[in-house]
């Protein structure tokens, strides 16, 4: 059973550029969340996608946008990159069954994409 996968593993960009990160959820999961983890910090919630729509968003500017495809995979796009966007970007997936049980999701994380902005 494949877990959550992310691509690419590492990425180097310069200020002002745009970047797209990709995530494939765990088999059977339909909800994808994105987190940013700066060096020495805990992950910070960016947004969550369910049924191809953004369901909830954290305190991130509009430069951060996303998309979810019919196969539940997801992309995170960041425009006009800043030095401060350098971080590990984590994708997490969760299943609908726990929603039906009216519980919070258990989120399973991928290995992350390390983004460096120069």
């Amino acid at each position: 059973d494949a877990g959550v996968t992310q691509s690419p593993t590492h990425l180097i960009k310069t200020r002002g550029q745009q970047v797209t990160l990709r995530c494939s959820p765990k088999s059977g999961h339909d909800t994808v969340s994105w987190y940013q983890q700066a060096l020495g910090q805990g992950p910070q919630f960016i947004f969550q996608y369910y049924e191809e729509e953004e369901r909830q968003r954290g305190n991130f500017p509009d430069r951060f946008s996303g998309h979810q495809f019919p196969n539940y995979s997801s992309e995170l796009n960041v425009n006009a990159l800043l030095l401060g966007d350098s971080a590990l970007y984590l994708c997490a997936s969760s299943s609908p069954g726990q929603l039906a049980l009216r519980r919070t999701d258990t989120q399973y994380f991928g290995p992350g994409t390390r983004l460096t902005v120069l």
Partner: protein, 117 residues
């Protein structure tokens, strides 16, 4: 707003010694609590979770955690630490669907565990 505090940034223990990592949370309703572990350059692996019921939760790799509502704590414990347990540990609180929290996780800043041989 929900928040998590992990008071210890670094902890060093000897292999075979017991371990307790502290976690305090702030949340207005029934919390959903998690512990994750992160090895260098890796993603997060779920150790255990608390949703309801028994306040002592067992997880993988011999870890357990106890939910204490009166102290707003969810401390992680292991009776005998192995060198392979060296990693960073994150406590997280999840919002409740019932309160419209949308299931986002709020993490603490983590505790870096070093194991001396």
């Amino acid at each position: 707003a929900q928040s998590v505090t992990q008071p210890d940034i670094h902890i060093t223990v000897s292999e075979g010694a017991s371990l307790e990592l502290r976690c305090n949370y702030s949340y207005g309703a029934t919390p959903y609590l998690f512990w994750y572990v992160q090895s260098p350059g890796q993603g997060l692996q779920l150790l255990l979770k608390y949703f309801s019921g028994d306040t002592l939760v067992q997880g993988i790799k011999g870890f357990e955690a106890e939910f204490k509502r009166s102290q707003s704590s969810f401390n992680l414990r292991k009776p005998s630490v192995h060198w392979s347990d060296a990693a960073e540990y994150f406590c997280a609180v999840g919002a409740s669907i019932l309160t419209g929290g949308g299931n986002k996780l709020t993490f603490g800043t983590g505790t870096q565990l070093k194991v001396e041989l």
